[in-house]
């Protein structure tokens, strides 16, 4: 792996649960539990898991928008960013201190419809980060916007149009241009292609890869579609109910998964091969438990096909596997 850009160390995030007539805090949901990983410069780390596993929460914590949007959220651990100003723990920064760093890390959102302000023209949307983070003149900014729009495959003369005049794929390109405007080092992409049509998905994935090669971007690519994540990622991290349960290179995790949950997840991905599913498909029983009453010990033991009695006792640590990755299961 290349030189680290972002170190997430023992990150735990607990959401408050409000209850009672006066809406006081009655409990907490541990959405993310002791998660550690590293993203190298120019690397793509895929973060996968089913809904409710905490992958979006991790992404939002990194980009420092969790505190602003969720009152009462408790975040522990460290998120160390190795930027142009040396290593800094993002969690120790105030919003004002975070601001200059935001030009180095940007986010692309899942829904290209709700993540663009319908009252701003596309030119204004792409220009907005420049107004905040650069001291360019209006002429320089306009030049930059034109260049950005061309670079992501839009026509620069469309800058005067409004978001509703564009299709989903084009809007996602606008979101990418906006993220790219301030020359970030890291882009956190939360399900960037899952709302797009199949024929457009490939265009956006190719664009993201081209931009990565051109600008040396690192991506945290959060998604649930394993075939897309396998395609775009260098390494893949798998989460289940707030815990990181497997981490390895894309091929290690996708082709030789070690954790029983990852095995089930990979084998559930439908393949474009006629004649039915895989004979080796692992059928999971039941559904992902609610994080409110998370199982003790290994969170997966309630659905695991190879669960042993002691799985409910203690959370297994991440162990190195023969195939090269680490996985939180001692029995594979």
């Amino acid at each position: 792996m290349s030189e680290p850009l972002l170190d997430v160390r023992n990150l735990s995030i607990a959401y408050p649960v409000w209850g009672g007539v006066l809406k006081h805090k009655v409990g907490e949901v541990r959405a993310v539990d002791n998660v550690s990983f590293t993203i190298g410069r120019g690397e793509t780390l895929g973060l996968v898991g089913e809904s409710g596993c905490g992958k979006t929460t991790v992404a939002k914590a990194i980009i420092h928008i969790l505190v602003a949007t969720v009152p009462g959220v408790r975040i522990e651990g460290e998120i160390v960013y190795h930027g142009s100003r040396g290593a800094v723990n993002l969690l120790s920064l105030s919003r004002g201190q975070m601001r200059p760093l935001r030009s180095e890390m940007q986010m692309i959102f899942q829904d290209p419809f709700s993540s663009l302000n319908p009252r701003m023209t596309v030119g204004q949307i792409v220009e907005a980060p420049l107004r905040i983070h650069s001291n360019q003149t209006p002429q320089e900014r306009r030049k930059r916007v034109e260049w950005l729009m061309t670079r992501v495959g839009l026509q620069p003369d469309h800058a005067a149009r409004y978001p509703h005049e564009f299709s989903g794929g084009q809007r996602q390109r606008i979101g990418i241009a906006r993220a790219l405007a301030v020359n970030p080092k890291l882009i956190v992409a939360d399900e960037p292609v899952s709302a797009l049509d199949v024929s457009v998905q490939a265009q956006v994935i190719n664009l993201l890869q081209d931009l990565q090669a051109e600008f040396g971007l690192a991506y945290l690519f959060v998604a649930h579609d394993l075939s897309v994540v396998h395609h775009i990622s260098n390494r893949i991290a798998v989460m289940y109910l707030g815990n990181l349960i497997e981490l390895g290179t894309a091929d290690q995790v996708y082709l030789t998964p070690a954790h029983p949950y990852t095995r089930a997840l990979v084998s559930a991905v439908p393949r474009p091969v006629p004649g039915g599913g895989r004979p080796d498909r692992v059928r999971l029983q039941g559904e992902i438990p609610s994080p409110l009453n998370k199982p003790s010990g290994c969170p997966f033991h309630t659905r695991c096909p190879i669960a042993k009695p002691d799985c409910s006792q203690a959370l297994p640590p991440l162990l190195a596997k023969e195939t090269g990755q680490v996985a939180a299961c001692p029995y594979t």
Binding site: E50, S51, G153, S167, G168, G169, Q170, D197, V198, S199, V200, Q201, A202, Q203, I205, N206, Q209, H224, D225, L226, S227, V228, H230, H231, I232, A250, A264, L265, A268, V269, P270, R271, P272, V273, P274, G275, G276, G277, R281, R283, L284, E287, I288
Partner: protein
């Protein structure tokens, strides 16, 4: 359920042949400044015991086709402007509203993409299941309750009698979709239309739901499923035949084996090549250029001509007919003209030789026509 037995006996004469025959279906929507032809001349058959996939992107007309079969198109602005929907020989479009209500649920049932918006949030699941059963079968509430619990057990919801008292929000996404399936199958319909039933679900839950649908179909001889999806991989694993729609028209129709082994329409080929899972390494994906045109800006001739890599002049002025390649493989593309077995021979004769060698994902040979680059 004696009424079902009688019905089956009464219908046994028409049991051979297609269960549903859609003939030249046209569904238009009045919009500002014109008529949006969401479905424009779509024909296909659904055979007993089969799972038919309809694949398309947003705006392809796949969902409007299914809503038209159920006659659930909001009118206005929508209107079924023409065609026939022959269900066991009866034209559904000629039925009165009360007659159609008897068909819905009892004969043809539908499940939707988002189960939360398809279930009523202010009534218990049990109330809604019993309501469905009692609408179609004259049985008392106790029997309807028992049938509902039995249906919940069939779709894998244990402790059904207790869960009948729960409201939809107390179920998870996958469980809600199971409730929808239980409701849809509670009157033993012969045709189930599933419109993106697993799109909102996680991948492990998707596998469970698809498996469940196939299992329940296998228990009902003669029943068929229309599975509407954008996911070709789901089609490959669950369907026997597949229809590819684009721009409100059928572009290709084939058995799943034929479609994946030798897709003939450039759009189908592009879709299959753009799937990440068919690529071996991490090289660039094949992408279809451009975007799906809005329904109001659909090109008049071939709907795919604005994005097709093999486009030539004729594609822009004349829409190709559906060429029959034999074995139930139909393709709407000018490039297949003069193929052995095509129904519309003549025209560009030079294609024939080259076409015979086209297999797999190799693009069809292009006739010697002035090629113009597509504008991305």
């Amino acid at each position: 359920m004696p009424n079902k037995v009688q019905q089956a006996a009464a219908n046994s004469g028409t049991a051979t042949g297609p269960l549903l025959s859609v003939r030249d279906l046209r569904t238009y929507f009045r919009v500002d400044g014109g008529m949006a032809k969401a479905v424009d001349g779509v024909s296909f058959d659904v055979l007993p015991d089969e799972v038919l996939g309809i694949v398309g992107e947003s705006g392809s007309g796949k969902s409007v086709t299914s809503l038209s079969i159920m006659r659930l198109i909001p009118d206005p602005p929508g209107r079924i402007a023409g065609g026939q929907l022959l269900y066991r020989g009866r034209d559904l479009l000629k039925l009165s509203y009360p007659e159609m209500r008897k068909v819905r649920g009892a004969e043809i049932a539908m499940i939707f993409q988002e189960p939360m918006s398809a279930l009523n949030p202010v009534f218990t699941v049990g109330f809604q299941l019993i309501e469905t059963v009692q609408t179609h079968d004259k049985i008392n509430k106790r029997a309807a309750f028992d049938r509902a619990v039995e249906m919940l057990a069939q779709v894998g919801i244990s402790d059904g009698a207790k869960r009948m008292r729960d409201y939809p929000h107390q179920f998870s996404g996958g469980m809600r979709q199971r409730v929808m399936i239980a409701m849809a199958l509670s009157c033993n319909p012969h045709l189930l239309i599933a419109d993106e039933p697993t799109t909102a679900l996680d991948v492990t839950t998707q596998a469970q739901i698809l498996e469940l649908m196939l299992k329940l179909k296998a228990q009902r001889p003669g029943a068929a499923i229309i599975l509407i999806t954008h996911d070709l991989a789901v089609v490959a694993e669950t369907c026997q035949r597949v229809i590819v729609m684009y721009g409100g028209r059928v572009q290709e129709q084939a058995t799943v084996r034929d479609l994946f082994a030798s897709p003939r329409h450039p759009y189908t080929q592009g879709l299959l090549k753009s799937l990440p899972s068919t690529q071996t390494g991490h090289e660039r994906l094949h992408a279809i250029p451009g975007n799906v045109p809005s329904i109001m800006d659909m090109p008049p001739a071939c709907k795919f001509c604005t994005r097709c890599e093999f486009v030539f002049d004729r594609c822009r002025v004349e829409e190709p007919p559906l060429h029959d390649l034999g074995g139930g493989h139909l393709v709407r593309c000018h490039l297949l003209e003069g193929e052995p077995g095509t129904s519309a021979p003549g025209g560009v004769a030079t294609v024939v030789g080259a076409q015979g060698t086209t297999r797999g994902l190799t693009p069809p040979a292009r006739p010697d026509a002035s090629r113009q680059e597509t504008t991305p």
